[in-house]
């Protein structure tokens, strides 16, 4: 798996901090019996946990913008971009994004 460099304290802190309403990102949990239910996500950790739920759908381009602009994590943005350009299914992209973000979350918790 792609290794991310250890985040500095500022980035780690940002990763671990909830954002306000204007900076949230919306995912959708899809199911045959529930349709597409919006899930507003207010922290990096919430995004990671959301991506671990059954049938998470998140707009990948919006996720890139969010990681870049809200989290200001340029390294992760770059790695996510590479992942999202791979010729694999959206399901597989979702898993790979989650792995990268899980790694960043664990690093941030270790630093924080």
């Amino acid at each position: 798996m792609t290794k991310l460099a250890k985040p500095n304290k500022t980035l780690a802190s940002r990763i671990l901090t909830e954002v306000d309403y204007r900076k949230h990102i919306t995912g959708y949990q899809l199911s045959e019996r529930g349709g597409a239910r919006p899930v507003k996500l207010y922290s990096f950790e919430e995004v990671v946990n959301f991506l671990s739920a059954p049938h998470p759908r998140i707009d990948f381009e919006a996720l890139l913008v969010w990681v870049q602009d809200v989290m200001s994590d340029l390294e992760l943005t770059s790695k996510l971009k590479t992942t999202l350009h791979q010729d694999v299914s959206d399901y597989e992209k979702s898993l790979r994004c989650r792995e990268l973000m899980e790694q960043r979350l664990a690093q941030s918790k270790a630093v924080g």
Binding site: L30, S31, K40, N49, V65
Partner: protein
């Protein structure tokens, strides 16, 4: 009168009077919803009253299939009356509950219950076969739904193990049974007149929509208990067994080759419908007579019998808080069941107030004062405090208990939050389900033309199959879209053969074809699903991968079981015809309540905000069949909103198709006369509400 017990219990709580309505007077409506609407029409002279008015009539109706071996139709019960949840008008509405109450009511000798009036103090109803007693509920008032049922079980059955044979009623009119009574009960939410109040049965069956818990609370009715030991007359028991075996062999999961049954809706390989992780030891649990248990009983005893959205209430917050599923989600759902709280409102409302908290307008010291600690969201303590606030109307819970649409109005936020969609309540002040009206128009149109979120999943597989497969990277999802729409169209009798009824492309969603689809759907569900009470989780089934021609059980299956039980000779279209009649009667009731086409519109965001939002957030990849440039494919339908003027034109097409007055949406005399509802036309005329033909 095979399939029927020939009498309906009539309870006047005001005068504590018990009487009987003969079922045969209403038999031509089939059962369930049809009978309930007809009785409501006959008994309630002024229909433009609040659901909290003592004169409100509440019906609880079974079907001729209740308590029989008809698959997925034996355990349902239809509840109707004027609800208290919708806005701006408290519509005459419906809900439906599973479990064993409907079957047990038949075993006690009753086809239904009609409740009128208001008791002067809390009461519960004790039904033991024909013996009906209105009892003091002083010791039950303030008690949650589970403890209420336990107390009633002890009073009726005494102590003893569940499986023991026991004699009830003593020597006279004795009932010998292994069963405990089936009990419907309200919790504290209903007692405190919460518009989110539900009626709960056993651990996790809920009559959830409409606020009937609050209606019962206003009538001082805490619970109804029933136990009986009678048999249901079945016209042709051999044909019923043969039909069940036929259905199992042709359409249900193949135990030896389960892969073949992937497309079975009637009897799927994994019938459970739950949103929380299956991390616990659990076994499926089913309603009476059902062939496919969609709920679970778990080793921990948590979350038993809850299903569908109830299980989604807290599961995301639990996972987001703990990084995995903990007990919190199940405990939170159990709290909803114990207090008797509507899970849809609790879930959408919680999402909404969290957003307001993040906006900085709701919280301690904020403009909307709220002492919930959102840093604890996902923990059991937060769920306890939130649900308790609703149930007891504590603090801001007094607003929550009104439903979050009315709460937003109290807070002065309604217009703004319906403009943005922050409050995703798309029709009649009710929470959105997830099948967005901007995408699955049959769901949205059906809801706004009626009284509630329809909660009828008949066509949702058309979104799920392609959306799931495309996510998994399947380039050409199966079944082939052109085959699928033609297959389904062949089943939509008597409007069969028009695949454009399944074309969800943007130009077509305002067409006559979609008007036909919505009409067919309204008529089908009003009879086969809500009167005969084939469960929404198993019926209808249009496509089935196990069947040789790929076509599902619907069309042939519905009348086969109905006829075996009743001895009638109905065909599928006969049922659709009665459904149309019921739908017209319901529309007449809404007309008398104040319905006019001018108020039949969605919340503003449905016309202005694309499904999935603006800008880079384009929403979930949501696919449905559509015909573009002469070719069928699964097309992505998010990123669009409805066009208000096009929808207004579509309403005209729909009203014309139904034979209603396009200027008002009211029923007309020619239409009502053609379906045997002349007396309805007369009452509408007397109230200046008859549509012009």
């Amino acid at each position: 009168m095979n399939g029927y017990m020939e009498k309906i219990l009539r309870l006047d709580l005001t005068d504590r009077k018990v009487s009987i309505i003969e079922t045969k007077a209403y038999k031509h409506w089939g059962g369930g919803h049809g009978m309930g609407s007809a009785i409501f029409w006959d008994l309630l002279k002024n229909k433009a009253i609040s659901g909290f008015d003592p004169h409100n009539v509440v019906t609880l109706m079974t079907s001729p299939l209740s308590g029989t071996l008809a698959p997925g139709a034996s355990g349902r019960l239809e509840i109707q009356g004027i609800g208290v949840q919708s806005s701006p008008i408290e519509w005459f509405t419906r809900s439906n509950i599973g479990g064993r109450f409907g079957a047990m009511l038949k075993f006690a000798g009753w086809d239904g219950i009609v409740i009128e009036g208001r008791a002067d103090k809390p009461v519960w109803i004790d039904i033991r076969n024909e013996k009906v007693t209105i009892k003091d509920a002083k010791s039950l008032w303030g008690v949650d739904t589970w403890k209420t049922q336990q107390q009633i079980w002890r009073e009726v059955c005494g102590s003893g193990e569940k499986q023991d044979w026991r004699t009830i009623n003593g020597k006279q009119a004795k009932i010998v049974t292994t069963q405990r009574p089936a009990v419907l009960a309200i919790g504290q939410a209903g007692e405190n007149l919460g518009r989110l109040g539900c009626i709960i049965h056993d651990a996790g069956n809920a009559c959830g929509q409409g606020g009937f818990g609050g209606v019962w609370g206003s009538k001082n009715l805490k619970a109804i208990s029933v136990i009986g030991d009678q048999s249901i007359p079945v016209a042709d028991p051999n044909a019923l067994i043969e039909a069940r075996l036929w259905a199992q062999n042709q359409y249900a999961m193949d135990l030896k080759e389960s892969n073949k049954s992937r497309g079975s809706f009637f009897g799927p390989a994994n019938p459970q419908i739950i949103f929380w992780s299956r991390s616990q030891d659990a076994r499926p649990q089913a309603c009476v007579g059902c062939h496919a248990g969609c709920r679970e009983r778990s080793a921990s005893g948590l979350g038993n019998e809850s299903s569908c959205l109830e299980t989604a209430f807290y599961s995301n917050y639990d996972k987001m808080k703990h990084g995995r599923q903990s007990h919190a989600a199940r405990i939170a759902t159990d709290l909803l069941q114990q207090y008797g709280i509507n899970a849809f409102e609790a879930k959408n409302g919680l999402d909404y107030i969290r957003d307001l908290n993040k906006m900085g307008v709701l919280g301690p010291g904020k403009s909307i004062a709220c002492d919930l600690d959102f840093s604890q969201l996902g923990e059991i303590e937060f769920a306890e405090k939130y649900t308790r606030a609703i149930a007891y109307r504590e603090g801001i819970g007094d607003d929550f208990a009104e439903g979050f649409y009315r709460a937003a109005k109290r807070w002065g936020r309604l217009e703004e939050d319906l403009n943005t969609g922050t409050l995703n309540y798309s029709y009649w002040g009710l929470p959105d389900h997830g099948y967005d009206p901007r995408a699955e128009v049959e769901w949205g149109y059906g809801s706004i033309l009626g009284d509630r979120d329809i909660n009828e999943h008949d066509f949702n597989f058309l979104f799920w199959w392609p959306s799931f497969q495309k996510w998994m990277g399947v380039p050409n999802p199966q079944p082939d879209p052109e085959w699928a729409v033609n297959a389904i169209a062949s089943k939509l009798l008597p409007l069969e053969g028009d695949p454009l009824m399944l074309d969800f492309s943007t130009p077509n969603i305002y067409s006559d074809h979609i008007a036909k689809l919505v009409a067919w759907h309204r008529h089908y569900t009003r009879f086969w699903k809500q009167s005969i009470q084939y469960c929404d989780l198993r019926w209808p089934e249009f496509i089935n991968s196990k069947a040789k021609n790929g076509l599902g059980i619907s069309g042939e299956g519905e009348p086969k079981f109905f006829n075996a039980v009743t001895g009638n000779n109905y065909n599928f279209v006969d049922g659709i015809g009665i459904g149309e009649k019921i739908w017209n009667l319901d529309n007449a009731i809404w007309t008398l309540q104040g319905r006019h086409r001018d108020i039949v519109h969605f919340s503003n965001y449905i016309y202005t905000v694309p499904f999935g939002g603006f800008g880079s957030q384009s929403g979930p990849p949501y696919y449905l069949p559509g015909k573009e440039n002469g070719k069928w494919s699964y097309i992505r339908v998010n990123n669009r909103h409805l066009d208000k003027s096009n929808f207004e034109e579509w309403k005209t097409k729909y009203y014309v198709f139904e034979g209603w007055d396009p200027q008002t949406g009211w029923p007309t005399k020619p239409k009502l006369s053609s379906i045997g509802l002349e007396h309805v036309a007369t009452e509408l005329f007397q109230n200046n509400r008859l549509g012009r033909s």
